[in-house]
Symmetry: C3
Subunit: 136 residues, 3 copies
């Protein structure tokens, strides 16, 4: 059994943005020496998140961001947090700050249309992603 | 330490449906030979999800589907994805495509009222579930 | 490779409340003897959840609870569950009943502003939290 931990950095360009990080995670899996097990992808920020969704048609990402913006708008009467980014904290807790993906045959065992996305909700900023590959 | 990976198939019958898959996951745990560790239950589809909630009173599931439908309706002005199932992609990212459950004494260590559900948001379809049991 | 499983109890005081449980989880990590690996924090209840968010400014928590209350109000026409807590079941499935955090150098590898929270959505009640530390 083997555990490999690796961090990488990304730069986001907009306040709300989903960035496909599948290739970065795949490459950590490939270098890990793990054949079967799982990958944890973790966001150490409280105004961002990790999700898995379709990376074939970019309009899917557009529609997810539109929905999040309408359900959790930037400003809401009653918000107390002085930084003005309470919506980003809410989106972070609802989307969730990590994902786990199985590793099979030395590769991420994703579905056909699935990609891994870093979700920026209060950019643009420099951000980190933590990855752990565990298995045999 | 042991890793067991297994897939199974299900057929969904409606556009929106929660299907209790606790017994399928339990049976993989029972056959895995793992005493203590954890189970990952993973959905490889971008318009479906996995959740854990009450499986005693079926009205709980009814009320969860009702809430999701009202917060994220099928159609929303501004959606660009040509397949007309953007709501399903949003629900998938909000509910999340996987769950993890501890394994203790060779059994799923669920709470008294908890069951594991496959969440269909764009059915009816044939679907897959990936499971990994890891432990000693 | 080592697996340590431990439960602890908490008492919630309000119907909706986020309780910082970072120190309890940290202390289980410290006693586990694990240097590198991961921690699973799991809520065995169907009207509560686990999330990771900012634990520096308490107004963030206020604003998350406010948003959840407005998006998923206590009562909604059409709810069928007789206990009157369907909103709590929905919040549980959307926030999610578990989180995973990497363990690095014998410590939780959280981001600077991140804390782990137990989310009560149908309190006040006595509640349990399950923790597993796995690693080497």
């Amino acid at each position: 059994m083997k555990i490999v931990q690796k961090d990488f950095s990304i730069s986001t360009k907009k306040r709300n943005q989903l960035i496909d990080i599948t290739s970065q995670v795949s490459s950590i899996v490939g270098q890990s020496g793990v054949t079967n097990g799982d990958a944890i992808v973790y966001c150490p920020h409280t105004t961002a998140a990790i999700t898995i969704n379709e990376n074939a048609d970019p309009s899917v990402i557009h529609d997810i961001l539109l929905t999040l913006e309408e359900v959790i708008p930037h400003h809401r009467p009653g918000y107390q947090h002085f930084e003005g980014n309470s919506d980003a904290h809410c989106k972070s807790s609802l989307v969730g700050c990590s994902e786990q993906i199985l590793v099979k045959g030395k590769k991420l065992y994703l579905g056909t249309w699935q990609g891994i996305f870093f979700c920026e909700f209060d950019g643009p900023r420099g951000r980190k992603v933590y990855v752990q590959i565990c298995g045999e």
